[in-house]
Symmetry: C2
Subunit: 353 residues, 2 copies
């Protein structure tokens, strides 16, 4: 890389061996080497169990003792700088609450990746847009990026990451991103199942809740669209209903319910559904006689309510599966990005529809 002609070095003034300006200084492998009376190379060999060289057992012990004594911990940055790559798999830190479904999946993924000797790092990128986030992530030189969250990566963002050495970029979202492996979590399917279920139950005037917060907007749009297309040509078009995740908002919506003339509602997910269902009941509406309510996500809590909440259950890929996908993509980055089909979704009819 550096084609400098390397002129003869100027005489280096030997450092006057500072007494100890920063005594609580971080111990380095050189310190370990000094204490053990060996070279830095030997320290590295011993501590990394290098198999290419044979180090005598007494030496190994001395080195290990010294490292222990100093509380030596290798410097990840230096190591990866030298190695030219990291084992970091970066995930955007999820904003907003994380349900048991999602957190279980995340744990599985983490555990599986750890087993494959990757370091899982969740990076918080709160106010950032897709390309800014990609830049920030690229600074860490992750070997792979798994983008599950709110952030939508552009082709340009993917390019930034790839140029920064990411051997795998995997997105999960409604649409594939050019250059990245795509797990198509097509939330339209979820909306479609919900709407179809309501139609089956004889409902014709169907509302779809769209969360007021922007956070889950990505899913919300796709779910609404899915519901729309399922209903198309059958009956009056679905009615989008904006609602925030607060009691007041739910109560407000319930208060004007009769004027809307709807007999079925897909409430975005189980949590919104519970909130809305409660408000509707308090408003004197009967469920499911007057209004059928269905959520999504199949939360345990939905079964605890009365009436029991109908829901759309959908499959997440297992964490192990995704980890394997990551590992494969890392090892054979030449491969053209795969696309994994839309998630399977099924309506689970309980008492609320």
């Amino acid at each position: 890389m550096s084609q400098s002609p390397k002129p003869p070095k100027p005489p280096k003034p030997p450092k006057p061996s500072l007494p100890a300006p920063t005594p609580p200084s971080v111990p380095t492998s050189a310190d370990v080497a000094r204490l053990a009376g060996v070279s830095r190379a030997t320290v590295s060999y011993v501590l990394n169990n290098a198999q290419a060289v044979r180090i005598s057992e007494p030496t190994r012990r001395r080195v290990r003792r010294a490292a222990e004594e100093l509380g030596y911990v290798p410097h990840a940055a230096a190591r990866s700088l030298r190695a030219g790559h990291t084992r970091i798999v970066l995930l955007p830190a999820s904003e907003g609450p994380v349900g048991p479904l999602h957190s279980g999946f995340l744990n599985e993924l983490q555990r599986a990746l750890s087993r494959l000797d990757y370091t899982v790092v969740q990076y918080g990128s709160l106010g950032l847009g897709g390309d800014e986030a990609a830049r920030a992530w690229a600074e860490l030189r992750p070997v792979a990026v798994v983008c599950l969250g709110r952030i939508t990566l552009s082709a340009h963002g993917v390019g930034t990451l790839r140029r920064a050495g990411a051997r795998a970029v995997i997105t999960m979202g409604p649409a594939p991103v050019p250059g990245a492996h795509a797990l198509i979590a097509d939330q339209a399917e979820v909306g479609a199942r919900a709407a179809a279920h309501l139609l089956e139950r004889g409902r014709r005037r169907i509302g779809v809740v769209v969360p007021a917060q922007e956070e889950p907007a990505l899913f919300a749009a796709a779910r609404l669209e899915g519901a729309r297309s399922a209903v198309r040509s059958a009956v009056p078009p679905v009615v989008p209903l904006t609602m925030a995740y607060t009691e007041e908002s739910a109560t407000g919506l319930a208060a004007r319910w009769r004027s809307l003339g709807l007999d079925g509602v897909f409430a975005y997910d189980d949590e919104y559904a519970m909130l809305l269902m409660r408000a509707l009941l308090d408003e004197g509406l009967r469920i499911p006689e007057d209004v059928a309510v269905i959520g999504a996500g199949d939360l345990l809590l939905g079964r605890l309510l009365r009436p029991r909440l109908s829901t759309v259950r959908f499959e997440m890929p297992t964490g192990d599966h995704l980890a394997e996908l990551v590992d494969r993509a890392v090892r054979e980055p030449a491969q053209t990005p795969d696309r994994h089909g839309p998630v399977a979704a099924t309506a689970v009819g309980r008492d609320s529809t």
Copy 2:
């Protein structure tokens, strides 16, 4: 450090200008410099808006253009290696579901720390014990560690982190850890409030649910202990009840409820409380007449159930507050670790008690 006398370099074989063995190689500041026709130093100055030196506007533009064109992204590891420190604030990635309370707090914290120019990284440390985790974290050389999760840091772990350059280690847990700043989230207080509330409602034979999963064990033990001490000397001692977060487990517990002869239960938190309450109702018990049920955490969903769930609400420090604490600790590490008092907790009586 290296006191080598620098003998004359052996003739460096000029790299035979490889055609392009790794063409998609990561662009470095040297590449930018070459393209812009300036030195690496100049690139650094421009890209970091160094104020100590004045660079002509045309040069600045050339450099920026070149960086843009190459898609140059600085290498965080190299930077921090050079700088001798990072701006990383490390949090253990939370395992298990994250309620809205906790996630709101986390977001606040992240946002506040970003504003203070820290990089927030959540590090997944699934199977690790306290000291192993500390070692793993130390490899990243974080400037601060905020340990909120399941992991309990030992004094030794704190030492490891400090020796690795962490200028602040902050723990939140039932007890302070030597050497670390402590946010004492004394969950005993939560248990005590719950028990006191049940006593006030005239209950005498009180059960306390302890989650079967090990995950929240830390909180569970403290909450149980708190309930115990609140009840002590008044009535029969509290009865610990093991229960998993599944419908079967709740049903099983409810089935043998009458044989337990309890008239009040603190169900660990709102989610366990909802589950248990539903099972008790299905078993034919009346709430609160036969059994008073109280949870903790004041989840919105608790208000949606009928009967409405009583709960213990407790304060989390605000994210801004904690961020400020981190920043202060980083800037004045000499300070002796502060301890911040136990969390305030209040019982909120609703219909279930």
